[in-house]
Amino acid sequence: MDQFALLVAATLNSGTVLAFAALGLLINERAGIVNLGAEGMMLVAAVAGFATAFHTGNDWLAFGAGAVAGAVLAAAFGFLVIWLNTNQYATGLALSLFGAGFSAFVGIRYTQEKLGEQHNFAIPGLADLPFVGPALFRQHPMVYLAIALTLAIAWFLYRARAGLVLRAVGESPESAHALGYPVRRIRLAAVVVGGALCGVAGAYISVVSTHLWVEGMTAGKGWIALALTTFATWRPARVLLGAYLFGGVTMLQLQLQGEGVQISSQFLTMLPYLATVLVLVLISRNAAFIRVNMPASIGKPFFPG
């Protein structure tokens, strides 16, 4: 039972990175922009966050720095694809490559550095409850923030007027434009917010998950987040579910290995991808549902007439 509680705790922790990044990308894509640069933004944010935590000793400033780093890169990307109408996919890939190289370059100075000892978090009272305490209430605050953010984004997209406008821009920028909405500025705002959230995810990896900076340390999490938004059919709750599912199966397969289960570790390593894709495909197998949720203008440039 204790082991299971620890597995739940590790799952929440492991899924949080993906949740932040995928929610950010969801906002982008709801406005019709695909940003393949997630991995690059996360890496730059990871080094920015690490450097900030290293110099100031404050994790919150580190998350702020990560968000700013992600937002700045996203703004540059947004300017290129929204105003200059460059190809979104090519520009995103360029951003991804740029981020990998740039973060390595900036990070040279930090590769050997250490952050101070990490403190443990616990919600007073609740953390001491049997089972649910260790499972749910001893997490880093960002874990709860990810859940709150999911609710906030879901509310924003489906209940707020601004969210409706954002979706309209993603569905039919021409119509939104005809109604007088500043399509380009709205898209840029979505891209910048998405970049900031990817940045928070990147900073979480270096500041909380590993507590160190190593070149290329996001190790493909940006790409998984991108895939997650699509498989979750651009619905916030499903994105969160997918992120926890991926994190959970990742931790489960490691734990199974530790227990000496006789399945090849190479197969187990494959499991998180397999399980996440399978479950999300199953819950979204309704083609009409996908059509309804998929932003119609996704990836397409918009030229105001």
Binding site: Q3, L6, L7, A10, S14, V17, L80, W83, L84, N85, T86, N87, A90, T91, A94, L97, F98, A100, G101, F102, A104, F105, G107, I108, T111, Q112, K114, E117, Q118, N120, I205, S209, T210, H211, L212, V214, E215, M217, T218, A219, K221, T250, M251, L254, Q255, Q257, G258, E259, G260, V261, Q262, S264, S265, Q266, T269, F303
Partner: protein, 399 residues
């Protein structure tokens, strides 16, 4: 102006900007650390003697040029970091008689061959490749360039101008294992393994044997991450081991993530390849380090003396000062420290042998009879877990 023409022009301009951005990142990297992806063959040249700003160096006493190819970044704090420290020690040892340079992050693929050829064309006469995966590309290059001498780490193929060298990392694993066996409260140890090859399996076994030498009840759990360096995954694997009840961890991966994860959880772990004590002072019990400098100095001396011979294999350990255990924590009891020192002294003078029977596999079958000592061939082919290690070697059951 036709809006569409404008849009097209803007697209081209933006593409150029993007290309420049991407180009910039490479440019910056070449001038500082050199990536294999960059087409310019410049590597960071480290010369201890002040090099003239221009013009060729006088041919009279041209220093020997030596190049290193690394698989990771020099800042990994582990494997590549240890190699680069040795390169610096080598440079210091020979002063202006040699010039060393390195290229980091050379992939273990066909691209490595191009890097080796680049190094040779720059006049390097001795080239070190510091990872297993360079074996084939290096062999190919060596066949084509008989005048250049090649040294390959951890491989097994040689040529008249190529030889291999390795370190007995399992000796360090055994010594940290002794400390782990003494410090665990749950009698359960955990190892984060990289790739299930004999070297790593041997280290896991030796770690367990070391622990059992002080505490016969020891069990070892193993989690594979199937990568040499992936800090978040290494950390997750360490967390899974801790969740499973292990309270002292060891890793055969290249970053300090396992140690940091143990530190976060208030448990213990070790440094591997390099001294990692500073990463998590409270969790760190000791570091099993590799010192490649003695071998590099020896090989360079061979070159300078003209006695360098190919087709040879070197496997250096504590005896040659290539393996050591450092920064042992104050938390380790004095009697265990003394035992570790005794083992180290025994390895140094050859009186102590780690792989000496009786040793039983974890399937209960005897793998080494009482009194028999394993030879290097046996050690090189270890594909089983010893008693006390849980689970099976991935893919090992087929043999």
């Amino acid at each position: 102006m036709n809006p569409l023409t404008f849009a097209r022009g803007a697209t081209v301009a933006a593409a150029a900007v993007v290309a420049m951005l991407a180009g910039c990142s490479k440019e910056e990297k070449t001038t500082t650390t050199t990536t294999p992806a960059a087409s310019t063959p410049s590597a960071e040249v480290v010369a201890s003697a002040p090099t003239p700003a221009s013009g060729p160096t006088p041919a009279a006493s041209a220093p020997l040029k030596i190049a290193f190819a690394y698989v990771g970044p020099v800042g990994d704090g582990g494997w590549t970091f240890a190699h680069d420290n040795a390169r610096k020690a080598l440079q210091q040892h020979f002063g202006d008689k040699i010039v060393t340079s390195f290229v980091e992050k050379v992939p273990e693929a066909a691209d490595a061959e191009r890097v080796f050829r680049d190094m040779a064309s720059q006049g390097n006469k001795l080239i070190f490749g510091t990872t297993f995966g360079y074996m084939e590309p290096m062999l190919k290059t060596a066949t084509d360039l008989p005048d250049v001498k090649f040294e390959h780490a951890t491989g097994y193929k040689t040529a008249p101008n190529m030889r291999t060298y390795d370190s007995r990392t399992y000796e360090g694993a055994y010594m940290v294992g002794m400390i782990a066996g003494a410090m665990t409260k749950t009698d359960t140890l955990g190892v984060v393994g990289s790739v299930p090859i004999p070297e790593v399996i041997r280290n896991i076994n030796s770690f367990t044997l070391g622990a059992q030498s002080v505490n016969p009840k020891i069990k070892t759990k193993v989690v594979w991450v199937n990568e040499w360096i992936n800090p978040p995954k290494e950390g997750d694997a360490a967390q899974a081991l801790l969740n499973g009840g292990a309270d002292v961890l060891m890793q055969n991966t290249d970053s300090s993530a396992v140690l940091q994860t143990a530190g976060k959880a208030g448990k213990y772990a070790f440094g591997w390849d390099s001294d990692m004590s500073a990463y998590a002072p409270n969790a760190h019990l000791a570091s099993a380090i590799i010192n490649w400098a003695p071998y590099y100095i020896n090989a360079t001396q061979d070159m300078l003396d003209g006695t360098w011979k190919g087709d040879q294999r070197s496997w250096w350990g504590v005896k040659e000062s290539a393996i050591d255990i450092v920064s042992i924590s104050d938390k380790v009891p004095a009697d265990i420290k003394a035992k570790v020192e005794a083992v180290k002294a025994g390895l140094k003078d050859g009186s102590f042998v780690i792989w000496k029977g009786p040793i039983t596999g974890n399937d209960g079958k005897e793998v080494l009879a009482a009194g028999a000592a394993a030879d290097d061939k046996f050690l090189g082919g270890i594909n089983f877990f010893v008693k006390g290690v849980e689970g099976q070697v991935p893919g090992g059951e087929k043999k």
